[in-house]
Each structure stands twice: as C-alpha cells, then as structure tokens.
Symmetry: D2
Subunit: 419 residues, 4 copies
C-alpha cells in the first residue's frame, strides 16, 4: 500500500485503470473451462476461479462493505470461501481445500466480479481518500494475482498427462545466442534504497533508507537455459559441494535434477509451457528454478547471488517499463533478449537477501496490515518482475518473496561477485 497516502488521485484515470486491470484478468482466463478454473493442483497454488473471486472479495470487503453505506454483500457465503489469509477477517476455508469448491461456477464468479466492478465504479466519485487508495491497492493486488493465476494454471496443466496447451505458441523470432556475461560494477558506498515518491508502493518497500554497499559487480543479464544445461551436464545436481545443506536435502528428497517442467525426451531438453511441451530455447533465460538451485548454480559458476540492495541500485538506471512483461493474455514465457542489459521482465531474480523488514518498517493497522509484514520469515527476496508480471506493476524497489524451495513462479538467476 501507499507510503504517501495524501497524494491526489484522478478519479477518471483510476476508473480507467481499474477497468483495464479487471479486464486483463478475465482475458487471461478466457481459454479456461469451468473445470480448468476450479481444480487446485497443489497446496501452493489456487484455482483460477479462486483468484477471480478472491480479488473481488478484497474489493467488496475493504471498499464496498467498509465505505459504501447500505451495500449488501453479493453473496454472504463468499467471504468464508474467498478470504485468503486475513486473520482479522474471521474464519475461512482451508487453503488446501480450495479446489473442492465446484460451485459457485466460473460463470457465477464472473457475475460476482461484474457486480462488484459496477459497484466500485459507481461508488468511486463519492469515496473518501482512504477508500480511493484502496481502489488503487485493489488494482495492484489484482496484478499480483494475475501473475499467480498464470503460474497456477501452468502448474495445473503440467499435472495433466495430456499436457494441454492453453494458448497457441507465439511466433519464434530468431535471436542470436547472448554473448558472455558483462559485469556492471558498483562502488563501496552508502546508498539509499526503498521506495520514495508519489506513486504507489507496497508497505514492505519502505521506508527508504541508507545502506552500505561494498565494491561488487552484477551481471548484465540473467543465466540462460543453455548455460543451465551445461550446469546439469557438469553434474551440478549431483555434487553436494555446490549446495546449501537444506538445498541438498531437498534435491535428494524430491529427486530434483532439472528446472521444474523440464524433461529429457529423445535426448533433448524440453520444457512445458502455456503452449505445451517444446524444446528449451538455449538463448532464453532459465526459469522455474528454486533459490536452492540458483544458489548452487552461482557457487558452481564461482559467483554469488546479488543482494537486494546491489540489485536495486543497479536496476535504477534501467527502464522499468521495458523488457518482456505482461501486456495481454497469451502464452507468456521468458524470451531471449535482443538488446543490451535489462533488469525488468522475463524472470524474477533470486537475491541472496532474506525477506525481512527494512529499518523502521511498521505494518499498517487493521486487516490490510496483514498484507506483507507477517510473511517476513523464512522467505527470500526476488527482484525485477517476470514475463507474467503486468507491465507497470513492478518497480526498482519492488520486493517479491518466496520460500527457497518454491519454483512454480517464473524465477531465474542473475549472478554477482565481489570486487
């Protein structure tokens, strides 16, 4: 949520943005059947229908219920079903059983969306500033769920032995193999990181604060599929020396030997994507790797992962709205880069930093305050945004976070080293 709640927001602009965000979500589920939208493929993932409804519940609860006099819930049974984790909002359906909810149907959930959308748009002109900000927050919240929606659908389809493609493949544009990594050097100095300014940010991105860097270099591109295949070929997954102890235990226990969705078929590495199973593109950024894998790769490569401060300082010089990010519904995936260094899009980049509060961080009061702060243990920070991140959603200060074993998001690796 915003660090700067008093700024002016233009209602018409917001209404337009709201409509576009909500529409993109629905475009993304357009190829899904009711069944596709209902099944939960693992505890970490949620059904598409749940994402559609939860983001709507968020708007209905924190805006319509709290700020619109006389508003009646669309269905009083929905809060129990579609609250995610807000303890202050009362009891809720067990996360691992979200896939049991075959009813309401996809169509009924879409009707719920349209009802709430109309109510928000109608209410917008009369909302107090605090509620207007919640509309903006609702848009950002929805964008986060767009990305989860894509990755959760991908995971579900990967569990179907038929390996359905839900989108036709994008046309292939031949791209040269990227050359060797170039290194962007950074001095040892006190710098400031964290969000500052008049736009939107999440609470965990602030306060902006000084931090001390040491002399270092950060790669000008992420690791490619081709480089990852070399890591595998060199025994990267079978040599304990590269691995953190927890990572090695995970590799052994889960039988991990390649990124998620990779399979060796007829002596060729393939990956499963929204367009089905296809050979990997050696020039494209590797994705669907865990923190453990990222760290092991870096150790194998004689490098390390960047800290989030190193990343943020380096990224500040690059265009946050460039690169391969989500613009429209379709078979998103990391793509080979045509141009020079880029820090946004394609894959979220694991950093070596634990997701902990910045100095001076205070969670906001009330249910919305459960947004980020309570997740600040055991997770790692990722930076940059991916091919599934709506363009405009990420920032240089944006802090994404996942557990070190998770890899169903579009997660990749950028190297760094000490100077």
């Amino acid at each position: 949520m915003r660090t700067n709640p008093s700024r002016a927001i233009d209602d018409a602009t917001l209404a337009d943005r709201f409509a576009k965000v909500r529409a993109l979500t629905e475009a993304m589920v357009s190829p899904l059947s009711d069944a596709d939208a209902t099944v939960q493929s693992m505890e970490d993932a949620s059904p598409a229908k749940w994402h559609l409804a939860h983001t709507t519940w968020f708007l209905e609860t924190f805006i319509l219920r709290d700020f619109v006099a006389g508003y009646q819930l669309h269905d009083e049974r929905f809060p129990f079903l579609f609250n995610s984790y807000y303890e202050a909002e009362g009891r809720r359906h067990a996360r691992g059983r979200r896939g049991m909810v075959t009813r309401p149907t996809l169509d009924e959930v879409l009707a719920y969306r349209h009802h709430v959308d109309a109510a928000v748009i109608a209410a917008l002109p009369g909302l107090p500033a605090a509620a207007v900000e919640l509309v903006a927050l609702g848009c950002h919240h929805e964008e986060q769920h767009q990305e989860l929606l894509i990755t959760d659908i991908l995971h579900l389809m990967s569990e179907n032995p038929l390996e359905p493609a839900i989108w036709p493949a994008a046309p292939k544009v031949p791209v040269e193999m990227p050359g060797p990594i170039g290194w962007i050097e950074g001095a040892g100095e006190v710098v400031e990181i964290g969000f500052e300014g008049t736009g939107f940010s999440f609470d965990c991105e602030g306060p902006r604060h000084a931090t001390l860097l040491r002399p270092h270099a950060i790669a000008d591109r992420t690791v490619t599929n081709g480089e990852w295949a070399a890591f595998i070929a060199d025994g990267g997954y079978t040599d304990a020396r590269h691995w953190l102890s927890d990572g090695w235990a995970w590799v052994q226990r889960e039988g991990i030997g390649a990124p998620l969705y990779w399979e060796r078929r007829d002596d060729v590495w393939t990956r499963f994507g929204l367009d089905g199973r296809r050979p990997i593109d050696p020039a494209a950024p590797v994705t669907h790797v865990s923190f453990y894998e990222a760290d092991a790769y870096a150790a194998w490569a004689g490098a390390r992962l960047p800290t989030e401060a190193e990343w943020e300082v380096a990224a500040a010089a690059y265009d946050v709205s460039g690169g391969n990010q989500l613009d429209s519904a379709g078979p998103v995936e990391p793509r080979p880069s045509a141009g020079g260094p880029a820090f946004f899009g394609d894959v979220w980049e694991w950093t070596g930093s634990a997701f902990r509060p910045y100095p001076g961080f205070k969670a906001i009061e009330g249910a919305v305050g459960e947004y980020n702060g309570k997740f600040m243990s055991g997770q790692c920070v990722l930076r940059g945004g991916s091919c599934a991140t709506p363009r405009g959603h990420a920032r240089a200060s944006y802090r994404n976070f996942f557990y070190p074993h998770q890899r169903w998001q579009f997660t990749g690796v950028r190297l760094a080293k000490d100077l």
Copy 2:
C-alpha cells in the same frame, strides 16, 4: 464375471440392457457441471468424469480392441488416463491425481462414451461368445461404478462449505417408527452358499460350496438413525470397551464422533445428502458408518455382526428385487421401511467376515482376472445392496468389500447373535 460362461445370451436383450445401463449413468451426472465432474475429493473417490470414461475404456479395451478387427482407439492417450488398476494393461495415471485431468472435458468424455456405445452395439451381432459375455460384464461393471459415482459426488459436495444440493429433496412419506428388532433364527447345519445358476455373477461369489452354520439369529431389519443417536448419547464413541483396538485408534486419530456427514446443528442431528443438509430421519436406516463403528455398535448392543454365510442363507428367502434400490437418477438415500423384513436395498450391511477367497476360488486368466481376487486382503464383506445399487445388480450371493475404516459408501448395520 460369469461362473457359467457357456450359457446362451439373447443379443437383443443384451443390447437393450446395455443401452439402459449406459443411459442411467448419464442421467445420474445430468446435474453436474464440468467442474463437478472433474474434481477428486479424496484418494478413495474418483471424479465423475473418470467413472464415465473408465467404464468406457473397459468396453473399448476388452471388447472393441480385443475382438473387433480394425478398431481404432477413440483416443490413444485415454488408456493411460482411464485404466483403473489393471497391471496387465500397462502404466496408468496415479490414482490420487485423477482430479488433475480437467481436459478432456465432460462433453468430450460423453462423446467418447457415445462413440464406444455405438461401436459396441454395432459389433454385438458379430461378437464371439467370450466377447458377448464381456459386454454383460461391462454392464455389471458399469453398475458398480454407478454406485461409486453417486457416493463420490456426495462426498465432493460435502467438501464444499456451501453444501450444495444437486437434487431437490424427495417428497417425504410419513412412516411409523419401526418397532423392536425381530430375530430370524437359523439352525446349526451344513448349508451351501455362493453363486450357482445360469445368470451372471462375479468370480468372487463362487464356487458355491458347503459351509457349517451354528445356531444363531439375525435381525429382521437394520439399525436406524434413531438407535444410532441413542448409541452416541450413551457415550458410544468415547468408551474404549466397545471398540476393536484398530477402531479405537481410528476414532482417536480422526476425531470421529458420529456417522460421516452427520453434524449437530442447533441441538439437532443433521446429515448431508444429495438434497443438501437436513435433519436425520430417526426411522431410516443409519448409513455412512465404518466397520469399526458397526462392530462397536454391535458390542454396545450386546450382539455381533452376522457372518456372510448367515446373511446369505437368511436373505435367500427374500425378494432380491424389492426394497429401496436405484431405479432412476435422483436424490437416493436410505428410507424408513414400510413393510416387513427386507434384505436388499437401503444400505450395504457390514458382516463380520473378511473378504477372502471361497474354497476352490481361482482368479480368471488375463487382465480381467484382476477384477476381485487381488483385493482379498484387509477388507470386510458387505452384503445386500443399497439405495445407490442399481436394481437387478445385487444378488443374495453378492460380495461387496471395503476397508474397515471406509464409510463414504451407503454402509449400515444388521445385528446377529448366537443361540
């Protein structure tokens, strides 16, 4: 399968029966959405769509593929998806992941059914006797899955916090509370049990063989909901003395305190059914109880469960086609009995007999031989058929079997005692 494979079968009769059986299955899924038909609510249950497809795979594999020259599989990817447990038929999708198969859709599965139905009907006149028998077996196999389909749908709906009713409630016919149990006495003598005759039976029902009964009495009706509520009120679930050791551990571990689907609401026992949640009917047979519960109830009541031989001998005098069995799609459930003793319909009755081979049992050669024999450990025999058993499917010699903790089927209790 038949014990008497050489008997004549009238093709027209069989074709008619085949069409009716297949149609009833589809009528039963008529209120289901694609999503309803896709989700798997627990490892023991299967998605409705899977039942629809698996029964079709059975026909396609053992009849069309094996006996119809030039038959092309409707979809060569389906055997992997829809084989249940036939090891001889090769690898198959993991049972616990059946709910991941959002595609093919329900409509596509129905198209698969219609394709195979047409092919079977077309082939029927030219099939050799062995294949004709497999058509008859396919009908019986389908009937078994009709019952599973109903109970699996019920379980799925029970997992939805909204507790949807998929059928309107049947009109209530007022019935008097049943009087005290009457006891049907049986002598100590050598009797014969097991299937014999010219009709169809499953391999595990034979060979017919002599067995020795001891003097005993068997109840003329099953235990009612009202009687079960008295057992609960008397502390039946909290007194270890009534319980088998494994049963007591199950009660403790799972927190069991009432039949499945029962909940206490506003000081009234309710049950969930295909018509939603409603108060229990104290006059109706109790159902959704496990073998452990059945055994504990019998111990509490100073009785025991009947052996399967006692049951079969007693049941032989009653009308196998009477009682509350499945005739058409709708909100089936056990109902209070209007008349005298009955042994068929309403609920499957747990016996005290382990599901083991009869003397002289030999499993049939080939994949179809995996039908029953390999399940002959750890399970208990149930007799009689339920409200979800297609009328005509059960026989006095019919042996159903489940593990002692399972209770999502329409399972109930008939008492017996020594004389």
Copy 3:
C-alpha cells in the same frame, strides 16, 4: 486364559514353572547392556527393558495388587510406564516413546522383577483359585514376551550399522537338502477345531467348534531359503500378477525385494541373525517374510496358504513338543529339518485365515479381557510356533496373529492346495 478355570493346579509345580519361565527371560537378556535393553528400534518393537518390566507389571497388577492384601506397589510410577494397552488400567506412556525411558535402569528393572517374583512366590500358597490361574496366565504371557524380546532385540541389532552378534553362532550340523514337498491329504468333512481340555489356553483359541473342510492337501514341510532364492531369481518381487493389491503397493512403497534381514553381498544372499550376518542356509526354512510375501510365493508356486482349520487338523497328528523351539537362551534361528514332517517350531506359518472370533467367542470381563478379542480386525492367523517360541507354549489350537505387512517375527510359509 483358561477355558477350564475350575481344574486343580499343583502349587509346587506352578511355582517351579513360574521360576523357570522368569529365569529364562533373564537369561535371554544376559548379553544385553543397559543401552541394548533401553532403545526402541521401531514402533512395532519394544525395548527389552520394557518387556522385562511389563511382564512384571502384569503380575504385580492382576495378582499382587488385586489379590494380596496390603501389597504396596514397588514403584507407583511404573504402571504408567509399563502398561501396554489395557484401557481399563488407565492412561499409559505412548507406545512409540517407550525407548525414551533410560531410567529406571536395566538393573533397577531386574530388581523390580526380583521383588515381584518373591512376592508372587510368597503369596502363591494363599492365593484364591482365580489368582492362581492368573499366575499361570502370567507364565504364558511371559512366554509370549520372550518371543517378542528375541525378535525385538534382533531388529534393534539389525539397525546398528556394525551389525553386532549378541551370541556366538551355533555349531553347524551338516544336513541334506530337503527333497520335494510331500503332500498330506485331508478329506472334505466336518471336523472340530479349537482348544478343548484341561490345560491352559488363550481365550481366542475357543470355543471348540465344528467346521467343514473341503478336500485338500497340505505340505509336509515349510518353504526353504533355497526355494525362496529361486522365487527371487524368477522375478517374484517384480511381477504384479503374483501379488495381492495391498501387497504390491507395499512392495513398491517400501522397496521390498527379499525377506527382512537378507542382503546380497558379493553375489551371495546373506541374512542377519542373533549371531551376526552370515550366508543363508538354503536348506533351512525361510523366515522374516510377510503375509503379502507368503501369499505371493504361494501364487507363484501354483498353490495357496492353508486355512487355519486345515493346519490345525493336520498338525494334531504331530508332536507339539518336538522340533526347533526355544529351550534356552542363545542364537535361535530356523534350522534345516533332519527328519520327517513337523508342524511345530522353526517358523510361525502364515495361514490364509483372518484373525476373527470363533463362533460363540466371548471376551472375558475386565482388563484381562482386552487380551485378544480387541485385536480381531485386520490381522492374519499364524500357526505352529517358531524357534523363538518357548517349548511348551504352543499348541495345535494356538492362534498367533500379525498384520499382513509385518515380518520381524520368525514367520514362514507352508503351502496347501485344493484336491
């Protein structure tokens, strides 16, 4: 417990028997350290110290506490620690945590034994008949625990990578390989089984009752290690057709490919025993196989397991006190047979019968009534006694029982077939 409680017992004879039984138990633990006697190697097994104390608690509770006026418990904290499963005797230490009890020490437990032994011997002349019977029951109970003690120690030692031998190997007596199985035929007729007479028996062995056999033959010896090696070499553990469904799942899940304690070393099958790891003796009975393995072997061999009635009728003609049974502490193990058919000793023989109550069975009132009856679900009957069964303990009517996957007891296989 006795079926014939009114018979006379000679106190001096009983005192002598009591002393011998109690002494044998202690001889068996003589090679154990305090640590050896304390550790619990798995949930199914108990520490040796626990067996020593539990059998003593049994005597102290049901004889001294209940029948000796003024008796003070040796240690009032022991009942909580050493009650096994008697719900009527109150709360008790969790079975899986028995290995946490490093104190009392082995010496303290032996002191507990000696204290209770002296008190029982002193009380014996004045005990009422019911209590005298409990002394006899206590002896039989102790003998059961002697066998468990041996098998639990063996299991513990097998978990130590050093594979310690706790006894020196017995001298090897060269024995010829047994010839082909001979078949003992049995007629189809009504026979009586179950305990009858004036001696001791457990409640589950009765009532004696008529049962109907069919024409059959039962092997005159058990399956040997050499025959089992042939089963393995023929792919017995990798061909699903031989296996019950539950058994096949067990084989897959646990990675089973040979009897427990077998390992292939330098191309030779070895087994671990109380005398350490040594090559298998191909002429000796195979042991440490589960019911699932026994059933699969029988299927592979074109035979079946005997019913417990077939076994009991055949065994009645043989010497219950012959064969390889436990006489003294030492490295017991199944041995090749020198002579003709034998039905007692070497290995417990899996039957095809589920452990269920005999017709007319009633559990005794009170805590001692929890002895057998409550275990009558999910387990299989074994007959005959093993090399670890104290000579004099087993009878033709004796019913041992274990779950179908268990195999740390000395369990083996005798084949049968229909005629």
Copy 4:
C-alpha cells in the same frame, strides 16, 4: 576456524587447553548411564555418546589421519558412525538413526576418546602449523558440542515421564526482581562488525566489514520468566496479530502455549531442567523460546528484535567472560542477574537477522569448509552465549544459528526499538 592462520600458538598452552576441554566434556556426562548416553530423543538431538565420539572422530580424521604418518584408525567402522554431515568425508549413518547404536558402549567410546587424546597430545609437538590450528579448532568444535550435549540430555530427560533430575539443584541465591528495562541508545552511523584480531574465530564471523546502523535502542537485559508469564496471561499465544504467519501456523499445528518444558501444575508455572521439574523463577531470563515466540513477544511489547549488528556493537562494551556461562559440569540454567547490563551468558538471544554470509565471505576449501557456510539458509542468528556455553567460547562477533521453530537450546529474548 581462524581468520589469522599464521599466528604463533604455544604448544604447552594448547595442550593444556585441549586437556581441559576434553575433560569437561567427560565431566558433563559423568551422571549418565550407558542408556542415557545412547538414546536419541528427536531428530534434532543426538545421543550423548554420539557427541563424545563425533568430536573425537573430528580430531582423528582431520589431525591424526591427515597429519600423522602411520596413524591407524582406532576403529575403521567409526567414521561411518560418527561423521556428522561432512559430505566430502563420504557416506555416513542417517542422522535420525543415531540412537540405534547401542554398541559401541559408552565405555568403549570413552576408550576411543582416551586413545585419540593421547595420540593428539603425543603428536602435538611435531604437527605443522595447519594441524596445530586444527587442534585449536577441535577445541572450539568440542565446546560447541558441550552445549549441544547439555541441551540434548535435557531434552531426553524431559521425554521420560519420570522426569529424572540428573544433577541436584543448585543452591538458590535470593535476588531482587529486575526493574524495568533500561535502553542503551545507538547512533545512526557506519560501524564495523565481524571478527578481527589474532585469536580464534569461526569462518562465518568474518570478514570484518562496515555496516550502517540507524538510530536505535537496545534493552539492557533480556526478558524474564515473569514478563513471559504476563504475555501468556494476556493471551499472547492466542492472538494471531502478534505472530508471523509461519509462527502462527506453527503455534496452531503444534499446540504451543508456553516455552518448551513449561507446564502448569497446581496453578503454578513450572519448568523442567537438569535438576528436575521446579517452579519457574520469575526473575530469571526466559529460555527455550523459538524465534517465532521471540518475535511475537516483541510485537506484543511494542518493540522488535535487535539486528545482529546492533547487538554486536552494543555488546562490544561488555565483558565477554562475565555472566552465567559454563565453567563446570552441573545443573546449568539461566539465573537472575545481580548486577547491571550484561550481554554474555544465560541465554542465546534471537536477533532479527537471517544467517547469511557476510560480504566477502568465502568458505574454506576441503571438508572443514562445510563447517558453517552450507547452513546459510533458513536460519536465524543468535548472539551472546548461554549458561551452557563454555566460558571463553563466545565472542561479541560470534554467530550462532537455528531454525525459527527450534527451541531446545537455551534461547531467549532481548528487545530493541527504533529511535
């Protein structure tokens, strides 16, 4: 290991230190029986015998084997048993099965110790500098295991329903209740942290490096048992708002409602310790709390945990050799403080910092390099040393680390806040 490997070490001093450290370990196990020393109470803990042997294996492997020509292993089977986690040293016994090793006995392990001790002392004068350093490392390694030994024994005894005291209680010295927390302020400035100097340190304590603090205050004492009881009384364990999401899930799943070893008896909070179960001392520092609990307490108290840099800078002004640390074998436990602020001893203090490498950290080559670096994920840093930390072992720069749910160590809480 040392950051400064070239410094001179006085052999006589080192020999003396070596002897004292090794002797203290043995004094600590003096009240243990063979059984006490053998049992493993949980996966996180190891048997006392294992600690005794593992520390000896460390010396034998990295000093005697690698640097003493002609040295023969005391027992060539021991490396498999007593290697902890050094992948480079080959296969090893599964951590969770350490408690199965009843043999070698405690006496045999002590003989192993004495053999290796003598060999090390004899070899010392002739060892090269690198090996001499490994002797020093071996002493520090042994001290770490002394602390684990104490906490693992405590855990084992707590699992015994008899709750044995292995030491008599220390005499109670009456101490006044501590007054309110005083706050030590720290400026916002660049400081240096990490080890520097000529003494010993572990690799993870360096390199010394600059870091930027923000204005803050850190408490002058740790939280007491009395304060913790107030937290409980105020519903601290039942209000989700105080808790990190992972912590709340842990509280729910494990049923946590008080520090480990606390039990409410007769309306009094008691704790279990090496001297048995006794009432808590409200003036003493709370201990056996997890990071999750520490963080929740801080949130409830309106404060936060200190960063490790804040802690280290504040602690630098205090006497590292003061306070309640381990000097001799006995019933160690946190004690009320008599004097002013102290930063060492009593309890390890959870910081808010994740255990990650310092800038420029490089793990040492070879097996010893597995010492710390590979554990740098998922764990939290603790500072200060406890009542079970050998005096002289800890330093201001010392970084201890555990997973956020672990609490069987002497772990406590010091608060901090922003200024």
